[in-house]
């Protein structure tokens, strides 16, 4: 409503200013009056996108009456091509069912997505339905919910489909910020032919990883374009999610303690420095590329991965599809397999970091929150929609979705291996602030300084712990 007022006032001001200017010129120049200057009228400004429709009349208690007028929703998500296509299909299915609804997609790669969404949220310009990351629910409002409370829409989204733990981890300040697609954890995907060609087994221990490095990288050069590696952690220095999680998992394995607990970083400098040095030994052995050897492309298009010159990646099991699609252009999906986590000691019992993945949230500023909720529900319950989404989001923890996925035998190949593998481990949901940009940003700094050789293990460990703690203190104060 504010918007409309401004536009009116704004154009009044403009008109008044112009009128003033014109008045001045009315009084005559003795000649040429007919050509009196008329300043260009300002072009009509883009109308503020404020559809005038009233709030849907029915309250939550009254049940949900689907609006009959034409309405437009926006739906934003990040991901890769396969997900873009899948969601686009789901949108088509939904709008076919509700012809008066138009859903505008807003999608892109994850690279700068967090910034974009925060820019939108800051200006109350966000999409009606948003795909959200686990930590957003907690970080954006520092413990307060910034999305619509989905508990209010329980009559539209049947929340009993989710395990309570999933709903709990997506709740903050007593409100349900988002509903998750499933549970996600990182697993090792292996490139079978590369190991067979080298005649070695998938490494089970750090020592084997180093040995494999010596074999596979035997012909590598310091910056060679044809280098081979046992493993890469995909991620740019400023968003090095894979390396960060890899090191975090190593720390967890080594100490048995999670990263943060009750706002305190759980590790000592010695513990972190030790793990960093071990990590370095992988790079030194040629198992991992060094900082200088990292390719500029740090996503599933990484040429090492797509051309099959790297033995493994450490990626989310739920979004494995995009790595299968990019590996040799998706022509050799059966060459990718999964194997147990690499540990320090063979057969060591470890717990694995996991998180509720790919939540859906509704904007607080949505004109049609019920329709938005209904669309979310549609993605989880409509058979065609579930079929359209396939495995682009991984296995769902939503009961109805999962039933369809299982009945259709959707989850197969490497992805099935991944989920099966996870059943052998205890999954531990990471702290809500584990992925907070301020907090993990400090870990990225420490890791980059260490890998690039700017800081030694001790100094980097100090940054890792102290800066992270400082950010946690700020956040929780």
């Amino acid at each position: 409503m504010k918007k409309i007022f401004f536009m009116k006032n704004g154009s009044k001001i403009i008109a008044a200013a112009l009128a003033g200017i014109m008045l001045l010129s009315v009084a005559g120049c003795s000649s040429n009056n007919t050509n009196a200057p008329s300043p260009e009228a300002p072009p009509a400004s883009e109308a503020a996108p404020a559809p005038e429709g009233a709030e849907a009349s029915s309250g939550p208690e009254a049940g949900f009456e689907f609006p009959t007028e034409d309405i437009t929703l926006t739906f934003s998500w990040w991901g890769s091509d396969s997900r873009h296509e899948a969601f686009q299909n789901v949108i088509d299915l939904y709008t076919a069912k509700h012809p008066n609804v138009t859903i505008e997609p807003d999608y892109g790669a994850f690279d700068s997505w967090t910034q974009k969404i925060q820019t939108q949220l800051g200006g109350q310009e966000e999409a009606d339905v948003m795909q959200v990351n686990y930590n957003w629910v907690h970080s954006f409002g520092k413990g307060q919910n910034v999305f619509a409370d989905l508990n209010q829409y329980g009559h539209i989204i049947d929340l009993s489909n989710w395990p309570q733990t999933d709903l709990d981890s997506m709740s903050t300040g007593g409100e349900l910020g988002a509903v998750p697609h499933g549970t996600n954890a990182r697993v090792f995907y292996y490139n079978k032919p590369l190991f067979e060609g080298a005649g070695i087994e998938y490494p089970k221990t750090y020592a084997e990883l180093i040995e494999a490095g010596k074999v596979i990288s035997a012909n590598n050069t310091p910056t060679g374009a044809d280098n081979k590696y046992v493993h890469i952690n995909v991620g740019t220095p400023t968003q090095n999610v894979a390396t960060d999680l890899f090191i975090a998992q190593m720390l967890y394995d080594k100490t048995g303690k999670v990263m943060q607990e009750n706002g305190v970083v759980n590790y000592t400098i010695e513990e972190v420095a030790g793990v960093l040095n071990t990590y370095k030994s992988f790079e030194d052995a040629g198992a991992f590329p060094t900082y200088q050897q990292d390719d500029p492309i740090q996503n599933e298009s990484n040429p090492l991965w797509t051309s099959g010159r790297v033995g493994s990646v450490f990626e989310w099991v739920g979004t494995m599809d995009k790595y299968l699609d990019s590996y040799k252009d998706g022509t050799a999906k059966d060459e990718i397999v999964v194997a147990p986590y690499i540990t320090e000691v063979e057969g060591q019992e470890v717990k694995i970091y996991a998180k509720p993945s790919l939540g859906y949230a509704v904007s607080r500023n949505s004109e049609y929150p019920e329709v938005a909720a209904d669309f979310i529900n549609f993605m989880f319950t409509d058979e065609e929609a579930i079929l359209a989404l396939g495995t682009s989001l991984g296995v769902s923890s939503h009961k109805a979705t999962r039933e369809v996925q299982e009945r259709e035998d959707f989850v197969k190949g490497a992805m099935k291996m991944g989920y099966d593998l996870l059943t052998n481990y205890e999954l531990v949901i990471m702290d809500p602030y584990f992925e907070d940009e301020n907090i993990r940003g400090q870990r990225y700094i420490a890791i980059e300084e260490f890998r690039s050789g700017k800081s030694d293990a001790q100094a980097a460990a100090k940054i890792y712990i102290e800066n992270q703690q400082a950010e946690l203190d700020k956040l929780l104060k």
Partner: protein, 285 residues
């Protein structure tokens, strides 16, 4: 203007050599970009040649770049860019010329203050205004409208252009104004009939510069326009580098070339204004 060209001496040969080498260094990246737009991923790196290898040219890169994503072609984003650039350019030209005229030609109390403020705001980084304006536009509800990128220009906020025009106006003889006044023209009429015709080259320069800088602006659209439907060229180009299933470099280069083409065309169309106009920003003080 009569020019006595130097005879071809050792000195002038040396100078040409410098000019040609510098020219090559300056132009090579652009030609390499255009050439690479026709190459496959394998042919782009590892060689200096601008041309793709025999028989390996991939004009289809341009077709891919044209249909830059599933929903829209690159023209759509170019038009989006024009939707704020054209108003921005026109408003800047009008408001800045008016202001420059008042400051340069009319006498009034507080003139010195106004001129000083124009210079001060000229030196202030634009960045200092980005975030507070984002907050202001957010309150006004004009984020994600193209107006957010030009509304300020309605009010002569382009200090650089005002300054440039003031500098230029100093070289226009004041007798012209006097004559117009005797003819009974008021201030605005004097501006329109007397000053503007003389000022035309510098106004065109201002328009061209304003347009080009607007084309280059990335941070503005990044902050003020965040809807997929109002993305500008610079935003969509940036997205080409974000993770796709597979980066086709040729496509990225082709898209870059397409994006720069209008600028190069406009540049050559207006180059005579440009070159002289920019030179005069230094003023004759």
């Amino acid at each position: 203007m009569e020019v006595n060209y130097e005879k071809l001496s050792l000195g002038s040969i040396l100078r040409y050599l410098v000019l040609i080498i510098v020219g090559l260094i300056l132009m090579y990246p652009l030609f390499w970009m255009i050439g690479s737009a026709f190459k496959g991923n394998m042919d782009i790196f590892g060689g200096l040649s601008v041309f793709p290898p025999e028989g390996a040219a991939r004009p289809e890169n341009f077709a891919m770049a044209w249909q830059i994503n599933k929903n829209h072609n690159i023209l759509f984003y170019f038009l989006n860019t024009l939707k704020f650039l054209i108003p921005k350019t026109l408003l800047t030209a009008i408001s800045c010329t008016l202001t420059a005229y008042v400051v340069a030609r009319l006498s009034f109390k507080g003139k010195k203050f106004v001129f000083t403020m124009i210079v001060v705001t000229l030196l202030m980084p634009e960045l200092a205004f980005r975030i507070p304006l984002y907050l202001m536009y957010s309150k006004l509800g004009i984020l994600n409208t193209y107006a957010s990128l030009y509304i300020a220009d309605l009010f002569a906020t382009g200090s650089f252009f005002i300054f440039m025009e003031i500098q230029f106006m100093r070289s226009i003889p004041r007798e012209l104004d006097e004559a117009a006044k005797i003819d009974g023209c008021n201030a605005l009429q004097t501006l329109w009939y007397v000053i503007v015709p003389v000022l035309k080259p510098i106004i065109i320069t201002a328009c061209l510069l304003c347009f080009m800088w607007g084309m280059n602006d990335f941070q503005g659209p990044l902050i003020y326009l965040t809807k997929p439907t109002n993305a500008t060229l610079s935003i969509i180009l940036k997205q080409q580098l974000d993770g796709d299933a597979a980066i086709v470099y040729g496509k990225v280069f082709a898209a870059s070339a397409i994006a720069l083409a209008p600028m190069v065309i406009i540049f050559f169309a207006g180059s005579r204004y440009f070159v002289d106009g920019v030179a005069s920003t230094g003023g004759k003080e």
